[in-house]
């Protein structure tokens, strides 16, 4: 179990995170917030790249900074900007990571074979990474995060720059991995979390705004999200969430605090996580 206890982080007088309290157990946790909200800062503190200005982060009750290499040994981390050496193959790169993680060579080789198969790079294991697409590089990143069979997986914006097919593949991998470990992934792409996250953590104004299941978060908007014709005046209290294109017709997806009068072109819709995101973070 990983606990974040009253953690505050300040950079040069600016408070990026204030009194954050969170508990992580087995499963997938999605850290959802717009750019600049403090997601990466929190992820880096969980990965011991940054230290809390106040408060502590504990693994099974023990401070993760004091644990030092014992904590890093159970951690798998994929940074927001995954660095690699282009003139090396994935196999060589993963061997290096395994060596730095203290995994013995014989075991590392077996593990690398398995991981390259898991991320769909078995055929490209011995090709130089400078020939890889962005999605393939990201898959190498996921494989390196798993090399030491971590109990805690921290993935910072893992789907940034991936095409839809790659993102679906990624979601399937994460879903399989979460069965017996803690997976924390940060993103501002809502659809990545909707189907795989057991809990969503939303940050706003340097604090944790919500920590709940997607169903609970979306359930609060039940009965309040409507699709109406494009250009329809909104009126008091209503909020435009997004526009949806149906062929040549544009319709608006809106939030209304009160039910709308039934009409042919006005339909209630099931609220999704994107609606919640836009409601919370929209201006």
């Amino acid at each position: 179990m990983l606990t974040v206890e009253h953690v505050t982080k300040t950079f040069s007088g600016t408070t990026v995170l204030r009194d954050v309290n969170l508990t992580f157990e087995q499963g997938v946790y999605g850290l959802l917030a717009p750019n600049g909200a403090g997601k990466s800062t929190l992820m880096k503190m969980l990965a011991t790249l940054l230290f809390p200005t106040d408060g502590s982060i504990r693994w099974n009750g023990e401070d993760i900074i004091a644990m030092d290499d014992r904590y890093r040994g159970l951690l798998g981390y994929l940074p927001q900007e995954f660095g690699y050496y282009p003139n090396y193959t994935p196999r060589q790169f993963l061997r290096y990571i395994a060596a730095l993680q203290g995994v013995r060579r014989a075991r590392a080789d077996k593990r690398i074979e398995k991981l390259l198969g898991l991320v769909g790079l078995a055929d490209a294991a011995d090709k130089k990474m400078k020939t890889f697409s962005g999605g393939m590089i990201q898959r190498v990143g996921i494989a390196q995060a798993l090399i030491a069979e971590p109990q805690l997986l921290i993935l910072d914006e893992p789907t940034a720059g991936l095409d839809p097919k790659e993102r679906v593949r990624f979601r399937n991998i994460i879903h399989d991995l979460a069965a017996d470990r803690i997976v924390i992934l940060s993103t501002h792409i809502v659809s990545d979390l909707e189907t795989i996250a057991g809990k969503i953590i939303m940050l706003k104004n340097a604090q944790v705004l919500r920590c709940d299941t997607p169903a609970t978060i979306c359930g609060e908007l039940e009965g309040h999200v409507w699709e109406v014709p494009g250009g329809m005046p909104l009126g008091d209290g209503r909020k435009l969430l997004s526009e949806v294109q149906y062929g040549t017709e544009t319709r608006q997806r809106i939030y209304s605090p009160a039910p709308l009068a039934a009409a042919d072109a006005i339909t209630p819709v099931v609220p999704n996580l994107e609606d919640a995101f836009l409601m919370i973070y929209g201006e």
Partner: protein
């Protein structure tokens, strides 16, 4: 133990001072992490990660550094004969140049590797691996140091051979090693206290400034260098080497809470 009398129901055995001190000592001994010797720390990392892993991805930086150092020493060696014929204090001035040039391989490789890791954005990844980045960096510094000692030794011998005079090789070696370990010690202190990119610039700038000052007063400095006994120069070098190794062990074992944060 001595009993105390005022406990209800009889005497309670209470530890005396010697027993309390022994208990505290046992708790401290078991609770404090054992201090690892530098050679044990290095051996543990090399055994686990392998020698080739230490410079994975940066072998070209090592090669470039060696090439550049060979050029610097080559220039010194090529100009030694002509230099020695210019004036009477030439030997001392040559030693000043050798003092300035000795840390070149060490620093150049160090800088190239830091630039490479930042350019490829791999530092964050290394910092979260089980083997601490400090330990890996310390082992690399040892390797650079050993390579520099080798290069400086060869450079001194070649310069002496090509100078056309019988230069005191042992004194030159002492001056060269003292320079190397003094620079390495300074760089270690800067790395522990300054963030990048300042940490990359402080020592080279300070070294060049000191070198400029030494050259400006080269008449006096050259004279001192020429009169320097071999035993003194080698002794100073040995002392600086010990100080460097001690500082390196401290750097390697710095607790996580006192390490610099990664670039946010």
């Amino acid at each position: 133990m001595r009993p105390i009398d005022d406990a209800p129901g009889g005497r309670i055995p209470y530890p005396d001072k010697a027993e309390r001190d022994a208990s505290v000592a046992m708790i401290v001994t078991r609770g404090m992490p054992a201090r690892m010797r530098l050679v044990d720390s290095v051996a543990e990392l090399v055994r686990s990660a392998g020698l080739r892993s230490l410079f994975f991805g940066v072998w070209d930086c090592v090669f470039l550094g060696c090439l550049a150092a060979a050029c610097v020493w080559g220039l010194l060696a090529a100009g030694a004969d002509g230099f020695m014929q210019r004036d009477s204090a030439a030997q001392g001035r040559l030693m000043i140049l050798m003092f300035l040039a000795s840390p070149f391989l060490y620093e150049f490789v160090h800088l190239l590797i830091m630039l490479r890791e930042r350019e490829r954005r791999t530092l964050d990844l290394w910092r979260v691996c089980r083997w601490s980045f400090h330990r890996l960096a310390a082992v690399r510094m040892l390797a650079f140091g050993a390579a520099s000692v080798t290069a400086d030794t060869m450079g001194c011998v070649v310069v002496s051979a090509l100078s056309g005079r019988r230069l005191p090789v042992l004194t030159m070696l002492g001056v060269s090693f003292a320079s190397l370990f003094l620079f390495a010690l300074g760089q270690l202190a800067v790395d522990a206290r300054c963030a990048w990119p300042a940490s990359a610039a402080v020592m080279p700038v300070a070294w060049l400034a000191a070198g400029g000052a030494a050259w400006a007063f080269s008449d006096r400095v050259a004279g001192m260098m020429e009169r320097l006994p071999a035993a003194v120069s080698l002794g100073i070098a040995a002392a600086l080497a010990v100080a460097f190794l001690y500082a390196l062990r401290r750097y390697m074992n710095v607790p996580a809470s006192r390490r610099a944060e990664a670039f946010a």
